[in-house]
C-alpha cells in the first residue's frame, strides 16, 4: 500500500520563522504507524530551511514539487499523487490558519473517499476505519475502502522529538512541476472587522426602548424558591429533559 503525507510549512506564532505545522506533524506521525510505503510530499516554493523541521521530526525524504509562488498547488499534487492509495493531510495548514480546503479538493480530484478531521485510522478486513473528531467531544467512526484522503486532527498523534541526526540524514528531492496561476490576493493592515448590520428605520425612541427592555432581549429566567430539595431537583431534571440535554 502506498501512503502519501502532505506537509506544508507553517509560520511560528512567536518567532515568525517557518516551522512544521501541528496537524501536518500529526499526519506524519499517524502515517508512520500504518503499514505501507510512506512518501512525504510538498508542493510550492518554500526553501529547504522551511521544510527542515519535518526532516528533524522524522520525515526521512521529502519530495518537493517546485512551483512558482503564484501557481496552483492542487493540480501539481493531483498529478503527482496518481496511484497513491492513501493520502494524509493536516486538517489545516499554516498552524491552523489555512483554509482546510486542500483535502476536499484532492479527494474530488483523485475520486477518493474523504475522511475529515481524523483522530485514528485502523484497518478492518479490506476496509479502513477512521475515528473522526466532532465538536463537543463526539467521536464518529467512519469506514471506507481505498483509495482515500484523510485530513488529520492535530491531536491524532505526536511526532517524534526534534533530532539533529534525523535532520542531517533527511533529504529533500526537488522536482519541477507546473500548475495554473492563482487569483491575486490583496493584503491589508489589521483593524477591527466590520460586521454587516441591517439599516434600520425604527425611530430613536423605539431603539432606546429595545436597548433597555422588550425587543429581542432574553426573557428573564425562571427562579424557583418553593419546595424542598427533592422537588427542586425534579424541576432541574424536567428542564434538562425538556431541552433534550440529557438522554435518560
Amino acid at each position: 500500500m502506498k501512503i502519501a503525507v502532505l506537509v506544508s510549512p507553517a509560520v511560528h506564532p512567536v518567532s515568525g520563522r517557518p516551522c512544521a505545522g501541528e496537524a501536518d506533524l500529526a499526519a506524519l506521525a499517524l502515517a508512520q504507524r500504518l503499514p505501507g510505503e510512506l512518501q512525504v510530499w510538498y508542493a510550492g516554493a518554500a526553501d529547504d530551511a522551511a521544510l527542515a523541521d519535518y526532516l528533524a521530526r522524522g520525515a526521512g525524504t521529502i519530495h518537493s514539487l517546485n512551483l512558482s509562488p503564484d501557481s496552483d498547488v492542487l493540480s501539481a499534487l493531483g498529478s503527482a499523487l496518481q496511484g497513491v492509495d492513501m493520502v494524509l493531510c493536516g486538517a489545516r495548514s499554516g498552524g491552523g490558519d489555512g483554509s482546510g480546503l486542500l483535502p476536499y479538493q484532492l479527494a474530488e480530484q483523485l475520486g477518493a473517499a474523504l475522511l475529515p478531521d481524523v483522530l485514528d485510522l485502523s484497518k478492518s478486513d479490506r476496509q479502513w476505519r477512521a475515528v473522526q473528531a466532532l465538536p463537543k467531544g463526539v467521536r464518529r467512526t467512519l469506514q471506507a475502502s481505498l483509495p482515500l484522503v484523510a485530513s488529520v486532527n492535530p491531536r491524532a498523534a505526536t511526532a517524534p522529538g526534534w533530532s539533529y541526526a534525523r535532520l542531517q540524514q533527511g533529504k529533500i528531492r526537488r522536482k519541477a512541476a507546473t500548475g495554473a496561476a492563482l487569483a491575486p490576493v490583496v493584503l491589508e493592515p489589521s483593524r477591527r472587522a466590520r460586521a454587516l448590520v441591517a439599516a434600520s428605520k425604527v425611530s430613536g425612541h423605539a431603539r432606546m426602548q429595545g436597548a433597555i427592555a422588550g425587543g429581542d432581549a432574553k426573557a428573564a429566567g425562571v427562579v424557583v424558591k418553593q419546595g424542598d430539595s427533592v422537588e427542586k431537583a425534579q424541576v432541574v431534571l424536567d428542564y434538562l429533559r425538556q431541552h433534550q440535554l440529557v438522554d435518560f
Binding site: 463537543k136 460586521a195 428605520k201 423605539a206 425534579q234
Partner: protein, 368 residues
C-alpha cells in the same frame, strides 16, 4: 399669584397616542383612542416590518444544520448576512437540516423568505450534496452561505469542490469591494466575493429589524445516492475524559460547594464534565485545569449547571456561549441568577444529594 382664577394651559402627560407606520408616536388632539401606557407597548412583542415583498429576481441560499431543532448563533448570523446582502429584489432561501418542526413564524423571524426543511439524516454527505446540487440547478442562487463550523463547514467545502464553485473560507468581513479573511501576520487578505462563502463568527449582526416571508417549501426527501463512506455510529466520549472546552454538559462548583465528593458523584451520575470557579480552585478543592472563566477556560456546553457560584464577571466571561445555564444558590440576588435560564434558590449540599439520587434512580428505571 392667584392660581385658581388664572387659566393655566395644562397638558396631560399621558395623552393617548398611536404608533404611526414610520414608528413615530402620533398624538391626535381631541381623540381618546390609542394607547396611554408607553411602557406596556414597549414590552409587547415588537412588530417588525417585512424585509421585502418581492417580486424577487435573484436569490441567496443559506445552508444550516440545526442542533436539537434550533439554529445556533453562527447559523443565525449566516442567515442575517444573506438577508442584509439580498436587497429589495433578492430572496433569502434556506436549506435547513433538522428543523422540520419549525413554525412559519419562527422562519420569518429568522428573516428567511423561503425555507426547505429536511429531517437531518445524520451522516450522509453524498445525499446532502445531491440535494444541494438539485437545488442549485432549480434556484440558481448567486451566492451560497454556510457558517464555517461543524457540519456546515464540512458540507460547504464538499459542495465547493463538487460543484466547482469559487470559495472563500473563514470570511470575517463582507464589504462592497470584496470579502476579507484574516491573514496571520498581515492583517487581512482581500478577495473577490466568491460564489460560496464560509462565514466566521461575527460577520453579521444576527439581530435584524425586519422579518422574512417565512414560506415553507414542501419538506423534501433526500435523494437516494449511495455513500462512499459508511457511518458506524458516533459516541460521546465519557465526560470525565473530555477536555472542558469540548464538553456538552458541565456541572461547576463554586465557593458554595463544601461537599466535594458528593459533587463529583453527581457529575459522574449525570455524565457531566466538572468545572469550578476560581475561588474553589484557589483553595485547593479542584485542580487548575477545571477553572472556568477569564483566567481559566472558556466553555461551549449546551448546559452549564452552576452550583454555589456567585457569578462574578470574570466567571461569566467563560460561559458566554453556553446555551442553557442553571444556577443553584442561596442568594436570590447573585449575578449568576440574572444570567441563568433556570435558578434554584436552595442550599447546594442538600440539592446535590437530592439531585444525585434522582438522577441515579431515573437512569436505573430507564435501563430496566
Amino acid at each position: 399669584m392667584d392660581f385658581s382664577t388664572q387659566a393655566i394651559p395644562r397638558i396631560d402627560p399621558r395623552r393617548p397616542w398611536v404608533l404611526g407606520p414610520s414608528g413615530l408616536k402620533r398624538i391626535v388632539l381631541g381623540d381618546d383612542s390609542g394607547s396611554r401606557d408607553a411602557a406596556m407597548l414597549a414590552h409587547g412583542p415588537a412588530h417588525k416590518p417585512l424585509r421585502s415583498n418581492g417580486p424577487f429576481n435573484q436569490r441567496l441560499l443559506v445552508v444550516a444544520h440545526a442542533e436539537r431543532g434550533q439554529l445556533d448563533d453562527a447559523a443565525r448570523e449566516a442567515i442575517a448576512a444573506a438577508a442584509i446582502l439580498a436587497g429589495k429584489d433578492g430572496e433569502v432561501l434556506a436549506l435547513l437540516y433538522g428543523m422540520e418542526d419549525a413554525a412559519p413564524e419562527a422562519l420569518a423571524e429568522l428573516a428567511v423568505d423561503r425555507a426547505l426543511t429536511v429531517a437531518d439524516p445524520g451522516y450522509a454527505p453524498e445525499q446532502k450534496l445531491a440535494l444541494l446540487q438539485q437545488l442549485l440547478q432549480q434556484e440558481s442562487p448567486h451566492t451560497v452561505l454556510f457558517a464555517d463550523r461543524g457540519e456546515d463547514a464540512d458540507l460547504g467545502r464538499r459542495l465547493a469542490c463538487r460543484a466547482r464553485l469559487s470559495v472563500v473560507t473563514d470570511v470575517v468581513e463582507i464589504a462592497a469591494d470584496g470579502v476579507r479573511r484574516r491573514q496571520p501576520g498581515a492583517g487581512f487578505s482581500l478577495r473577490e466575493r466568491a460564489q460560496l462563502l464560509l462565514l466566521a463568527r461575527g460577520v453579521a449582526e444576527a439581530k435584524l429589524p425586519f422579518v422574512g416571508k417565512g414560506e415553507r417549501l414542501q419538506s423534501a426527501a433526500l435523494p437516494a445516492v449511495s455513500e462512499q463512506v459508511q457511518d458506524l455510529g458516533s459516541a460521546a466520549s465519557p465526560a470525565s475524559e473530555l477536555a472542558l472546552e469540548e464538553a456538552d454538559l458541565i456541572v461547576s462548583a463554586g465557593n458554595g460547594v463544601s461537599n466535594v465528593p458528593g459533587f463529583l458523584a453527581l457529575a459522574e451520575a449525570l455524565g457531566a464534565a466538572v468545572g469550578a470557579s476560581r475561588v474553589a480552585v484557589d483553595d485547593g478543592r479542584f485542580t487548575r485545569d477545571k477553572q472556568v472563566g477569564a483566567t481559566g477556560k472558556t466553555v461551549q456546553a449546551s448546559a452549564y449547571i452552576a452550583l454555589g457560584i456567585s457569578g462574578a464577571v470574570q466567571h461569566l466571561q467563560g460561559i458566554k456561549s453556553c446555551r442553557h445555564v442553571i444556577a443553584v444558590n442561596l442568594d436570590a440576588a447573585a449575578p449568576m441568577i440574572k444570567r441563568a435560564d433556570l435558578s434554584i434558590i436552595d442550599d447546594c449540599q442538600s440539592f446535590i444529594s437530592a439531585f444525585e439520587q434522582l438522577v441515579r434512580r431515573e437512569r436505573k428505571e430507564k435501563q430496566v
